[in-house]
Amino acid sequence: MIKVMNLVKDFTQKDGSVYKAVNDASFDAQDGEIVCLLGVNGAGKTTMMRILSTIFSPTSGTAEINGYDLRKDPSKVRENLGFLSGDTGLYNRLRSREFITYFGELYGVPRDVIKQRIKEMSQLLDMEDLLEKKIEFLSSGMKQKVSIVRSIIHDPQVMIFDEPTSGLDILTARNIVSFIRDCKQRNKCVLFSTHIMREAERLADRIVLIHKGKILANGSLESLRTQTGQTDLDDIFVHYVNHSTDEKEVLANEF
């Protein structure tokens, strides 16, 4: 499970002023649950995902991944975490099998286990014939399959997807979506970020709305509907943004 507690991330800008990319955010995600971090571009989703995957360290506050604190125990956090994003690149000069094996070794998975997992997953994803091909010759859909296997080679309990379908064609995006559902079936804890309302509607058990680094709302689609009196997620989103105090201040300043 994921537990985010009062997370803050400041970026100091060139002129010395501080920009709060994540501002006192708290939420959680349970095992067997799909939670969607929904927000427009620049809302702080990627920063949040990068903190949770230990790429960034938080300015204050912390989070737990599968019970491990990411400040105190970042290496344990990484071991328990699978990370996949829509625009990740791959090492083109490696073969698919080499690529997956490389990451398996970095995670410290024994060689025979890596072999076994590659075999299982490639059957499941119907990609056995891709394994010996060089990645540069693969289509984007094939590459995404390789990335999927890469992200779960160490069998993590928590999966984080950062805009997993951005830039992908429909068929490839469907693969990802079904993979996310599959994770839930196997009782994994899934957190994915998106700016596409429809994707959140379709997949998420719970939606966490983020805007300008702040969490505006947190609940199932149903509960958000009753709270706002809106049915469409787009309208729900606008409702929350308009009612956030922060936004009013900004508007007041602008006029």
Partner: protein
């Protein structure tokens, strides 16, 4: 941290690099092909070309204005030159010469010496810049030489003196240098330069790919979320760069060695008995390992800092230039490795290489070279680890942080871009107007440069933009205690900086006339007060207003420290003098510090004036009694004086730092 994960990273990087055709080509295949083609191809082409030219021969128009048996003999001998055709000179010959149908015009003249002795001259008109012209001159010179010998012998025999008298004095060479030394001397100057360059270019291609490339291809993030420590990644990648750099050096060395040996044996040079002793080869390799480590670490830092491979390329260029200049020291005659030189990276390896090749190195120099380079490379590795662990650098200019552009406040005058534009304009004005004014009349030119090029534009800009000069330029009276400390900072600093200039002179000797030109500044007037006013006081005020006062404001958004550094660099560049770049840079750093620390430009003006004044005083009174004990010769300060000077400097600077620390209230 576990080394085994670094090995996993290393193995994968090596596998990828070996699969990259570009890398393999540029760092392994290219050197293998390059040197044989360069040496063997070029030399055989050259010798073939020479033969072609000789076969072509030449046509020469002849004027014999002497017409006696001597000139007849000269002409007779000339006719024996193969492939040469001779024709009598006619008025058309000049036209033919211009059209290059005739390649030479030769005339024989004679004259009488004071003691009534007839001497002859063969006058040859030809085009020396053409290959054919040069061949023509060589052939005719040899031919005339042999004719001269015949004539000399004939004349001597006439007066019954043995022709052996011509050989009454001769010089015979006994060369004690071994053939290894001869070759070493030749190879010792080009090889280190070539090796440093190939080491850099090989490592650069790899380093660019390993981090900047990963950023560009968006694979870095995936690597960072793995359960592998960042230090392990850095070490793994670092080892890959070193490996490739060393492979590169090794391949280069071997390829170069074989090409040169082959060329020598072909050109008939005595090569038998010359063999590279294997231990000098190993010594060179051993010295190159630390350099490879240093270069790799610096490149890794740059690659980590760069957002993409293109940006890396733009940092690599200057690095290459600097290394080139350092490595070129091996070309300079007379520069030899000393303990001090052995501390300077690249230069030390180049000179050590040269010394090893002629078998005249000392083990101390070797150890200092290797040790200092190793120390530097450890510092560089530490820096690249630090950079790799800094998220603001690793993800510089990424998504979220670029959002700030949206709410950027309106552009004001003081941004770095305008600062650079101003600087370029000032440089252009200085280069064209300033030097023109100074060649006309040195002292008036200097005054005009300071007032019209340096000071006036600043005041105009401030006026146009309605800015308060007092506030912008920090024209504020300093505390009396600061003013008291300034001489104790500025005088020792001037001593240290001028000794540094002396050291640079040792490495890169000043061009001839340089020092004379410098001292002409100090002797332009007999009145020392006027010299002090023009060379010390005026620049102290005007240049400080431009640099520490005005230009520093443009770079303040980078933070105080960086803006001091940038302005110091511009200050050094402004002097348009590569030999003084580093001393002036250091001075600029000090002046910037003084200004920023105290918030008053008066301190740096005073310091600048004292610094320049110091040079005037030394060159004017260098020979008088009171200053003489401090100096070695009329310009150089005794090294022993520098120790107390440095101590005074340190104490005064520390006190300055203390008195300028804001009191907590």
């Amino acid at each position: 941290m576990s080394f085994s994960k670094s090995l996993v990273v290393y193995r994968k990087e090596m596998m990828e690099l070996f699969r990259d055709k570009r890398t393999i080509f540029s760092s392994i295949l290219l050197p293998i092909i390059l040197y044989p083609v360069l040496f063997i191809g070029l030399t055989s082409l050259m010798s073939r070309q020479t033969k072609v030219i000789e076969k072509e021969g030449a046509t020469i128009a002849i004027v014999d204005s002497v017409q006696n048996d001597v000139s007849a003999l000269i002409l007779k001998n000339l006719m024996t030159i193969n492939n040469f055709q001779f024709m009598p000179y006619t008025p058309e010959s000049d036209k033919l010469y211009e059209d290059k149908d005739v390649q030479g015009i030769l005339s024989i003249t004679d004259s009488l010496t004071i003691d009534q002795f007839a001497v002859y001259k063969v006058n040859l008109q030809f085009d020396k810049s053409s290959d054919q012209g040069e061949m023509l001159f060589r052939k005719i010179q040899n031919n005339v030489d042999s004719t001269r010998t015949i004539l000399q012998e004939e004349s001597l025999q006439k007066v019954q003196i043995s022709p052996m008298i011509l050989k009454i004095l001769d010089i015979i060479q006994f060369d004690t240098s071994s053939s290894q030394k001869k070759m070493g001397k030749m190879m010792g100057s080009i090889l280190p330069y070539l090796l440093v360059m190939t080491l850099l270019s090989g490592a650069m291609a790899v380093a660019s790919d390993l981090v900047a490339g990963e950023k560009e291809r968006k694979t870095l993030e995936t690597l960072l979320v793995c359960s592998v420590h960042r230090n392990e990644i850095v070490i793994g990648k670092y080892m890959a760069i070193i490996t490739f750099a060393l492979i590169n050096v090794f391949v280069n060395l071997i390829s170069l060695y074989f090409s040169i040996s082959y060329t020598f044996s072909r050109s008939g040079m005595e090569l038998a008995g010359i063999s590279f002793p294997i231990n000098s080869m190993l010594l060179i390799l051993a010295a190159f390992v630390p350099l490879a480590m240093l270069v790799s670490a610096i490149l890794l830092s740059l690659s980590t800092f760069s957002r993409n491979m293109k940006e890396f390329g733009s940092y690599g260029g200057p690095l290459m230039m600097v290394s080139m200049m350092l490595a070129m020291v091996s070309f300079l005659p007379g520069v030899e490795l000393s303990n001090a030189m052995a501390l300077i990276p690249v230069i030390n390896i180049a000179l050590l290489f040269k010394a090893v090749m002629i078998d005249e190195y000392t083990i101390t120099h070797f150890l200092i070279t290797v040790g200092s380079t190793l120390l530097l490379s450890f510092a560089a590795i530490w820096a690249s680890i630090r950079i790799f662990n800094s998220e603001s650098v690793l993800f510089r200019g990424d998504d979220e942080s670029s959002l700030k552009n949206v709410k950027k406040d309106k552009r004001n005058l003081f941004n770095p871009y305008y600062g650079m534009v101003y600087m370029v304009l000032a440089l252009v004005a200085l280069y064209y107007l300033g030097s023109a004014m100074q060649t006309k009349d040195l002292s008036r030119g200097l005054v005009n440069t300071q007032l019209l090029i340096i000071l006036l534009p600043v005041l105009l800009v401030l006026r146009i933009f309605k800015l308060k000069p007092k506030e912008i330029l920090r024209l504020k009276a300093p505390k009396p205690v600061e003013m008291v400390l300034i001489p104790f900072i500025a005088i020792p600093a001037a001593m240290i900086v001028s000794s540094l200039a002396g050291l640079i002179n040792q490495i890169y000797p000043f061009p001839p006339g340089y020092l004379e030109k410098m001292s002409s500044l100090f002797t332009m007037s007999d009145n020392t007060w006027i010299v002090l006013l023009i060379v010390a006081v005026l620049p102290g005020i005007c240049e400080e207003i431009l640099f520490r006062g005005f230009l520093m404001r443009f770079f303040e958004q980078y933070g105080t420290k960086l803006s001091v550094v940038i302005v110091a660099m511009l200050f050094a560049a402004f002097h348009l003098d590569p030999f003084r770049f580093i001393p002036v840079l250091l001075l600029g750093l000090l002046l910037g510090y003084l200004t920023v620390r105290s918030g008053s430009i008066i301190n740096s003006m005073l310091s600048h004036t004292i610094n320049n004044g110091f040079a005037v005083v030394v060159s004017t009174y260098g020979t008088s009694m009171w200053i003489k004990p401090l100096l070695m010769d009329s310009e150089t300060i005794k090294p022993l004086v520098l120790i107390p000077a440095a101590a005074i400097f340190a104490v005064a600077l520390y006190m300055f730092h203390k008195v300028t620390t804001p009191k907590e209230t």
